[in-house]
Symmetry: C2
Subunit: 232 residues, 2 copies
């Protein structure tokens, strides 16, 4: 692939409420912004969760802690307020993905119940409007040995989440070692750079992706099975 | 920031040899491709290491294992051929970053000795050619709980590696919780999407970054201090 990649924020969406037709609103805004066949629409899980009504009332930090415990299927570590958890989806992240920032007053936002399904629903609406695109539902995760957070893909539709270059010859003509690239996570990172946390931009269009990356993929493809965890 | 991000591969570079004037070659190629003030040039550590002569002869896998042991300051886990290590820089990664893919025959490539210095050298050459840009030296790391690899920033010059949004109000006017974004890692991911492992494209231009992100930064800012590791 030698073409450039372009990442465009999807602007002009109102604050999303529970029950809103998010897919329809995203489709209208993204088509306005030039969404084309082969592009990937990245949508933050926060706005997906709000539209899907994944909100629980929390009065205080104690309430939030209870919600985190309820959402986690396993706690890997605790330090102070920080709880490293495994979610029902299989993601390992802080606080089971429960978040108070950008949440309606008195509420915490949970992760979407089935992020792949959320991605497929948005993709289907876009297909209905004549655009064959990929959709990624993104969230923001920390890393155990690196400072700062980066975005990852929770849900994927129409995109291969991991592209396996094992066995493809390297530039010296020898076989490459392990090179399974987490394309969907990198696409989520690229999108995050134009969305920003405090700017109410809940989606971005990534265009210029290698057409070979389009196809069936799932956010589950990015989850390492617990039996292969070296750090538990 | 409401502008789009653009990521352009830097093509036309020859296979880099030990002792090559990589900074000069990159500057010429990137200026040809329209590198402008405020852009970030992302360069793979592989090509930096080759130019800097960070190569060691290895006859077989046993030799490689010895090189990995020598490069690691600590081994966190072993499983089969996989060794999770801490490098002298402080990065936690597989095999101390020692890599055989895209290496000259009979050699392994080590990480650059001081990736920030490597980034500053390239940046200084570009400043000398009249372009005030950021430079990121990138590498490809795995993640403990996620499948596939993604790119990260090892060396940084002219860019804030981590941007702290803590305390900035969210869209609801409340204070954001922890949101320190690892901008330099996300920029490395965006660049990787146009470089590809088997295509001999060792650099990419990322343009459209928030000007507030330009400034002093270091790859060390992305390394979580061992005392704060919850997983050792």
């Amino acid at each position: 692939m030698t073409t450039a990649l372009h990442v465009t924020p999807v602007e002009g969406l109102p604050e999303i409420q529970s029950g809103d037709d998010l897919a329809g609103m995203l489709a209208t805004a993204a088509l306005d912004q030039g969404l084309a066949d082969g592009d990937c629409l990245v949508v933050t899980s926060k706005v997906v969760s709000k539209a899907e009504g994944r909100l629980v009332p929390v009065a205080d930090e104690g309430d939030k802690a209870h919600v985190v415990e309820a959402e986690a299927v396993r706690v890997l570590r605790r330090r102070g307020d920080l709880v490293i958890t495994e979610t029902a989806h299989g993601h390992v992240c802080a606080n089971a993905g429960v978040d108070l920032s950008n949440a309606p007053d008195g509420c915490a936002v949970l992760l979407p119940e089935d992020p792949d399904r959320s991605a497929r629903r948005i993709r289907d609406v876009l297909l209905g409007r004549g655009r064959r695109v990929a959709v990624v539902i993104s969230d923001t995760f920390g890393r155990p040995w690196r400072e700062g957070v980066v975005d990852v893909a929770l849900g994927v539709a129409g995109l291969r989440a991991v592209v396996d270059l094992r066995g493809a010859p390297d530039a010296m003509g020898r076989e490459l070692q392990v090179t399974e690239i987490a394309i969907a996570d990198e696409v989520a990172c690229a999108a995050e750079l134009v969305m920003g946390k405090a700017r109410s931009v809940p989606a971005a269009i990534v265009s210029g992706l290698d057409p070979a990356w389009l196809g069936d993929g799932s956010g589950r493809d990015l989850i390492r099975p617990p039996a292969e965890h070296l750090f538990r």
